[in-house]
């Protein structure tokens, strides 16, 4: 457990991917196999079977620490993380034990088996045998709130270096519904598998952003334009009767989209498609945040399948009849896709991204203005005679994104943040004018520098009008520009609107609150 708690602590310290890879590699080179398989499982988003009721844990911690509830709550407000708060207020380690991570996990699973009234005793006994760091990790295991800030890709890179196995093979071996109780670390990683090769994706070809001057690209006739759909870029592979879906982060996400399995029934074998994974219904895209319900979850439930219907929007074809055709021109590859059009679109879950006809750049410029209306992020421009290259190369592929919407809004509430920003007022609520009153319409967190955060912090402390629990009402004085990707109607919000991906784009120190936007003007932006 000590090793794992240390691993967690050092990973927490750094945000450099290379350092993380090094740290994980180091851990895996030392830890025992029983622990390693659990760490792999946890790092892949796996959870311990049953989550503990957090209010119970809190109760027991308060009792064991022998402090009043209000003092616990004050502490929690200041720390911003329940598992950490509990680990800090409890007395020091009292019992000496040397349990490993996997033994502690077993211990936790066993607690679930004993009667409710005996659980407290088991938990407190555990707290007594762990130091502060270990208590923290143990509590995280109990509450299922493990966010390690390590992507599966980082873990895969680390393992690849250590085990000397290619990354995409490791990705593949980590796929599936394996569980540490049923497979060993060695068996999982060394499962020589014929499927290793067939799941292999091609590196993605990525576009560069273009500013507002497509004219510089030359003759419009040489260019293909299409919508830049707002989903997750992906590669769909159908080889030897099996289907694999890779995200642009080169993560294998096949399991998050179980309905795609049916694509095998009508998509020819030996094909690799490049496209966008997106939520889509009734011939229209759905908001991006629906898609997020699919990602980062080990199990995709029936409800999610129903609420977040998905399609794979095809941009390009990279392999056909088992042959790499990336060298062909875009025009040729495009024809190959459209030849399949009938077969493909008759089936479900596959769409072909339509190209946009245009004669001049000015005409395209007008079309681009409809991007938001069409729920896209803008346009893609691809040279018709371009091959499918590797990585982000300048010249042949460009993205011409629309500018975000911006709104000038007034800061009216502030609340302490969580995690990195615990103990600072960094959760802000903003308001716009409605009939001479300021009404709240959005919350936003990111976008300020640490220095600005400190400035706002000082302002909040000096200009608090009221306190409701952790929320402070502040004097309306500061104006911020809020950027967002779109505005839609919402019955959940008092203002009647909801913003997509709101964030603070800058602090308008030059503006007075009278100059902030009005709700009326925002409603005009509704689709």
């Amino acid at each position: 457990m000590k090793q794992f708690a240390e691993l967690f602590e050092v990973l927490d310290r750094t945000n450099k991917t290379n350092d993380k890879i090094e740290i994980i590699r180091e851990y895996f080179s030392k830890a025992n196999d029983d622990d390693k398989i659990w760490v792999l499982y946890l790092f892949s988003g796996g959870k311990i079977k049953k989550k503990f009721n957090t209010s119970r844990l809190k109760e027991w911690a308060i009792e064991y620490a022998n402090i009043p509830k209000w003092l616990f709550d004050e502490s929690y407000n200041s720390v911003g993380d329940l598992a950490e708060t509990i680990s800090l207020i409890l007395p020091d380690k009292e019992i000496h034990t040397e349990k490993t991570l996997s033994e502690w996990i077993e211990y936790i699973e066993d607690i679930n088996k004993v009667k409710e009234e005996n659980r407290k005793e088991k938990i407190i006994e555990a707290w007594k045998s762990l130091n502060q760091n270990e208590k923290f990790v143990f509590n995280k295991l109990l509450t299922g709130g493990f966010r390690i800030g390590v992507s599966q890709k980082t873990v895969i890179n680390a393992l690849s270096e250590l085990e000397n196995i290619e990354t995409n093979i490791i990705s593949h071996r980590l796929m599936g519904n394996w569980h540490p109780e049923r497979i060993t670390y060695r068996d999982l990683l060394n499962s020589e598998n014929i499927r290793d090769e067939i799941s292999k994706p091609y590196p993605f070809f990525l576009a560069h952003p273009i500013e507002d001057k497509p004219e510089e690209l030359g003759n419009p006739e040489d260019w293909q334009a299409e919508w830049k759909w707002d989903g997750i870029r992906g590669q769909l592979i159908h080889r030897q009767g099996e289907l694999f879906l890779w995200s642009r982060g080169e993560e294998l996400v096949t399991e998050k989209f179980p309905e795609f399995e049916r694509i095998k029934n009508f998509l020819p074998d030996g094909i690799v498609l490049d496209g966008e994974i997106m939520c889509y219904e009734n011939e229209s895209p759905l908001p991006f945040n629906l898609l997020q319900t699919r990602i980062g979850r080990k199990n995709v439930t029936q409800k999610i399948l129903k609420d977040a219907p998905v399609v794979f929007m095809i941009y390009d074809v990279l392999e056909m009849d088992g042959v790499d055709i990336r060298f062909k021109t875009l025009k040729e590859r495009r024809e190959l896709i459209t030849n399949y059009e009938l077969r493909i679109t008759n089936g479900m879950f596959l769409k072909i991204s339509k190209t946009i006809d245009f004669q001049s750049w000015d005409e395209l410029r007008l079309i681009r203005e409809k991007s938001r209306e069409n729920l896209t992020e803008g346009l893609m421009l691809k040279r018709k005679d371009s091959a499918y290259q590797v990585g982000r190369k300048k010249g042949d592929w460009w993205k011409w994104k629309i500018d975000p919407l911006t709104i000038d809004a007034v800061l009216i509430y502030a609340q302490k943040g969580h995690g990195r920003r615990a103990d600072l007022y960094t959760d802000y609520t903003f308001a716009v004018w409605d009939n001479g009153e300021l009404v709240s319409f959005a919350k936003a967190y990111s976008g300020l520098t640490d220095k600005e955060i400190k400035e706002v912090e000082d302002f909040v402390k000096r200009n608090t009008l009221e306190k409701f629990g952790p929320v402070r009402t502040v004097k309306p004085e500061l104006v911020f520009e809020i950027a967002c990707e779109g505005i839609s109607e919402s019955r959940r919000h008092k203002s009647g609107i909801a913003l997509r991906f709101p964030r603070i784009s800058r602090w308008r120190k030059d503006k007075k609150i009278e100059e902030a936007d009005s709700l009326e003007s925002l409603k005009k932006l509704l689709k």
């Binding site: 310290r13 209000w70 003092l71 200041s78 720390v79 800090l88 920003r421 615990a422 103990d423 600072l424």
Partner: protein, 335 residues
């Protein structure tokens, strides 16, 4: 600041003893000021007369001006003003830091300034002083602040330095230039490598050097040295160095921060540092409670920090405690 007490009045200018006509750590200029220690939120310029512990005198002169009128006395040495017996007692916060004890007609009040209970080896260790009225800080007045033993923290610091050295990196550790920096310098394992100081640190070291602190001499990390000199070394710098281009000359380096706030993960990550060490010169939750108890005081005034929380806690535990608004800051980025 309407609160009154027999011995102490709490006025706009600070904590005041009307019988002796002295202020303790006033935040405006006054005639007579007794200074608990030389951190800038406690020692402010502009007063006519200052009284402090002998070790504080050179720092006060350095910070408030060479020409200030300041008297230094020893711990437990008492002076009398208009019938009030005044003496200083070790507060354990930084070298020379003192609790101020005032006694008049059998009534005793103690203003503790900033303090910690653990003996750090360099600072005169805190001594509990029995009193009727006790004024305490509460910078870390939450039960989530409980310090590890100093030895464990310095083991961590030494290990971090050693590992950085192995990787060919410099180790930059930030902490208050007055107090924390010397505590670090005094306690780190000097056999690991060479130690440098930021100018703000070395100048305080010099000011303190007359006071027989037994501090090893360290060089100022200035442009006479090249990157090669810094490889594997430890550089002690003030917190203001975090995020400052001054750090570039040490590249590649690892950046550490020694402060009580580092006990919380969120605070560590917020600072943009590589590693945080929860090394504080203030009392933690347990120490605050112990200190209050040991004074035996009937009345506790709680100043800077988690005042409301600590007052409520003390009252629930049978103490007569009250919040006192002051302009002291406690442990922050500013000194």
């Amino acid at each position: 600041m309407s609160s009154t007490n027999k011995l102490l009045h709490f006025t706009k200018k600070g904590i005041y003893c009307p019988q002796a006509q002295v202020y303790i750590d006033p935040w405006s200029s006054v005639d007579k000021a007794i200074i608990t220690h030389a951190h800038s939120d406690h020692a402010r310029p502009g007063s006519n007369h200052y009284l402090a512990h002998k070790k504080s005198v050179p720092i006060l002169k350095h910070r408030l001006g060479k020409d200030i009128n300041v008297n230094g006395i020893e711990y437990n040495e008492s002076i009398e003003i208009n019938g009030v017996k005044i003496s200083l007692h070790p507060a354990g916060h930084i070298p020379g830091s003192a609790q101020v004890r005032l006694e008049y007609k059998g009534e005793v009040a103690v203003v503790s300034g900033d303090y910690k209970l653990e003996d750090d080896g360099l600072t005169e260790a805190f001594e509990p002083v029995k009193c009727n009225t006790f004024v305490t800080e509460s910078t870390f007045g939450l039960p989530v602040y409980k310090w590890k033993k100093q030895k464990e923290i310095f083991d961590d610091i030494n290990n971090w330095w050693r590992q950085n050295k192995e990787k060919g990196k410099a180790s930059v550790i930030c902490g208050y230039s007055l107090g924390k920096a010397q505590r670090i310098l005094f306690n780190v394992d000097k056999s690991i490598g060479r130690i440098f100081g930021h100018g703000a640190v070395t100048i305080i070291n010099e000011a303190m050097s007359n006071e027989q602190l037994n501090l090893p001499l360290i060089e100022k990390a200035n442009s006479t040295f090249t990157k090669k000199d810094f490889v594997g070394s430890l550089i002690i710098a003030p917190p203001s160095a975090i995020g400052n281009p001054w750090l570039r000359k040490f590249e590649p380096y690892s950046l550490g921060y020694a402060s009580g706030w580092m006990n919380i993960r969120g605070a560590k990550r917020r600072e943009g540092i590589d590693i945080g060490f929860a090394l504080s010169d203030h009392a933690d939750w347990n120490e605050l409670n112990t200190a209050v108890k040991e004074t035996g005081a009937e009345k506790i005034y709680v100043t800077h920090g988690y005042t409301a929380v600590f007052v409520k806690w003390l009252c629930e535990n049978g103490f007569n405690a009250e919040e006192l608004k002051t302009e002291f800051i406690g442990e922050s980025d500013q000194e």
